[in-house]
């Protein structure tokens, strides 16, 4: 990565947007130029007014007046809002990272870039739209990859996640079906299996529970030793950007032809509490995706100069 910081904007002043801003402000690779909200009374905007050059309450319309100051945009609003944001902003030719389950952009799990055929960043396209899918998708994909890449004849794949009720905001609650469909789509991409099922459970226990995601793959054959090695390796990769990601039940074979594993995600606590690991993993993935995208662009430019 070059020495200059990447100038970016965040749209959305809800919990996820604010946590993302806190993360970007502390990241040496990024220069957070703008935070875009819709309400001047938003507590998120107030919190960050002194730390970010442009804290805007006039929505994307106002952002368009200063958009030439940024190279890329993170959208932390809702799946519904992202549709109109993308149609308004795509003519600018900037990259976008979508933290909603809108299913508009290319689904991406940063830790799988270069490992899985579908997980690529095109260094010649400066204006990609990358979808972070869902928390269930980001937390299950590493395990699905580790198991699927050392098994043969995959018949069926299942992902079940439980999250703390307090960490599920109104948009998530209204869109449980969308969550399920996006998570299933990603699982199909990672495993190559079309027979997939995702399940989401909200748990209101007090103190709040940490997010857990369990994956199950049914297949004709598993190389369990390689799965164990691959899981350790990929979990270490995930932990570089999500330190609270750990495997609490290592992949094991049940009496039937199934391998099961469970991961726990503890949030890093930038702005959101520790139990919001589900939001943390999405934000970490978004920042990592942006970093990888910009590196790929730079590598491409350097390559073409040679």
């Amino acid at each position: 990565m070059s020495n200059s910081k990447i100038p970016v904007a965040v749209i959305g002043s809800g919990n996820i947007g604010i946590d993302l801003c806190e993360r970007l402000l502390r990241d040496p690779d990024f220069n957070l130029v703008a935070l875009v909200g819709r309400r001047s009374t938003s507590p998120g905007l107030a919190r960050l007014r002194s730390k970010i050059p442009h804290v805007l309450a006039g929505g994307v319309e106002e952002f368009l007046t200063i958009s030439d100051q940024v190279e890329g945009i993170f959208d932390a609003t809702s799946a519904f809002a992202h549709q109109s944001h993308w149609s308004q902003l795509s003519p600018l030719g900037k990259w976008m990272v979508d933290l909603t389950p809108s299913r508009i952009g290319q689904p991406l799990v940063p830790v799988l870039i270069g490992k899985s055929d579908s997980m690529k960043i095109d260094g010649t396209n400066g204006a990609g739209n990358y979808s972070m899918v869902t928390c269930g998708g980001q937390s299950s994909a590493p395990l699905l990859y580790a198991i699927a890449s050392h098994s043969k004849g995959i018949k069926e794949v299942e992902i079940s996640s439980s999250i703390a009720s307090l960490s599920a905001g109104p948009a998530t609650r209204l869109n449980v079906d969308q969550y399920i469909e996006s998570t299933e789509e990603l699982a199909s991409i990672v495993t190559g299996c079309q027979n997939v099922k995702a399940i989401l459970v909200l748990n209101p226990a007090d103190p709040p529970v940490m997010m857990r995601t369990t994956v199950t793959i049914e297949a004709d054959y598993f190389d369990l030793d390689s799965i164990a090695v691959e899981t350790k390796r990929i979990v270490m990769d995930v932990q570089k950007s999500v330190p609270g990601y750990e495997v609490v039940v290592a992949p094991y074979k049940t009496t039937r032809n199934r391998v099961v594993a469970t991961a726990l995600v503890r949030g890093a606590g930038y702005y959101l509490p520790e139990y919001a690991g589900n939001l943390d993993i999405i934000n970490a993935a978004a920042v990592e995706t942006a970093r990888r995208h910009v590196s790929a662009l730079e590598a491409n430019i350097v390559g073409s100069r040679l």
Binding site: E156, S160, S162, V201, A205, V209, T214, V248, V249
Partner: protein, 330 residues
């Protein structure tokens, strides 16, 4: 007038480890049609779209079970149970509407009614009857219960069913809840008992005398854990003090059909069910608790108590092993 609602072919599917066949659905529905039950609920134990590695795979698809019931019911209504998070509108609910299901029960954990908004509104727009179900209803106070039930009625549910999913309640707790809801939410209140502490029929009858418009039961009590209120016993008790339009003889024929078909799967109240009822844990976890405790050599009571402490809700089967391993310091 209280209507009896028959969950034998849905909650009973937990007792059958979800191996219910369309052949039995046909036999049972033909026997029960016109018996006076308001509806017969059919499907996987956790409802539409819940056949899974997590909870258990169904022997047959939702479609084939619903079709078998639809073909066999003339007078009695056909219903299904739906838990958002397992089932989606597109994959599960829309096809069930097309197959002719009369009543949809949309169920959430008792504190999470908001996740059912889209599903209830979709069905209301399709002009289908919708009941809102609050599962694990012992895990909230009365004010919270009223708030959650009101959300479901605002979305369009025309009845609210309280599930004692852990079989935890004593009659006075049932009475308090049913009366509080009946006096505040303006729609019919239903009650769904489990027999962990041997109180299912007594609790169902307490709901009747507290003004519940709907009471759930199952033939032979066939249901998750130690089973549901035994339907034929509820009717016999009901007829002591009320005029009913149901046929006890027909209920007893339904009961005998279940008893003779599933002699080894009939639920009963045993040590493990008392432990789970006391701990306030979902009855549907009984098979996993039995399996994992015996595999790891763990006392079932210790495991039930820990599951209760962790506040597990339905759909968290995969955590049972992790919690058991924690207890064993594995």
């Amino acid at each position: 007038m209280t209507s009896l609602y028959d969950v034998t072919l849905r909650d009973g599917n937990h007792a059958l480890r979800h191996q219910l066949t369309s052949q039995f659905v046909r036999d049972y529905c033909r026997t029960a049609d016109g018996s006076g039950v308001m509806a017969i609920e059919v499907g996987h134990g956790n409802g539409l779209g819940a056949s899974s590695f997590l909870v258990g795979k169904s022997a047959e698809t939702d479609e084939s079970l619903i079709t078998a019931a639809r073909e066999s019911l003339q007078e009695t209504k056909l219903s299904v149970h739906v838990i958002p998070g397992f089932a989606t509108i597109k994959r599960d609910i829309a096809p069930a509407v097309a197959l002719g299901v009369d009543i949809f029960r949309i169920a959430t954990h008792v504190t999470e009614a908001t996740i059912a908004q889209k599903h209830i509104e979709y069905l209301v727009a399709k002009d289908v009857t919708v009941h809102g179900v609050l599962m694990m209803s012992h895990m909230i106070d009365i004010a919270g219960l009223i708030e959650q039930a009101s959300l479901m009625t605002q979305y369009g549910a025309t009845a609210i069913i309280l599930m004692d999913s852990a079989g935890h309640f004593q009659p006075k707790e049932v009475s308090h809840r049913v009366r509080s809801l009946r006096d505040t939410i303006g729609v019919e209140v239903g009650f769904h008992a489990h027999n962990n502490l041997g109180m299912a029929v007594a609790n169902a009858m307490e709901a009747v005398s507290s003004g519940a418009g709907i009471v759930d039961g199952a033939a032979m009590g066939l249901g998750a854990g130690s089973g549901n209120a035994q339907l034929e016993c509820v009717l016999a008790s009901y007829e002591r003090d009320h005029v009913s339009h149901s046929s006890l003889d027909q209920f007893l024929t339904m009961s005998k059909l279940v008893e003779s078909t599933f002699p080894r799967q009939l639920p009963r109240t045993n040590a493990s069910s008392v432990e789970s009822g006391e701990a306030g844990v979902f009855s549907g976890y009984a098979p996993q608790v039995a399996e994992i405790s015996s595999e790891l050599g763990l006392n079932t009571k210790e495991l039930w108590v820990e599951l209760g402490k962790r506040g597990l809700v339905p759909g968290q089967e995969s955590m049972i092993r992790e919690i058991a391993q924690d207890l064993m310091n594995l």
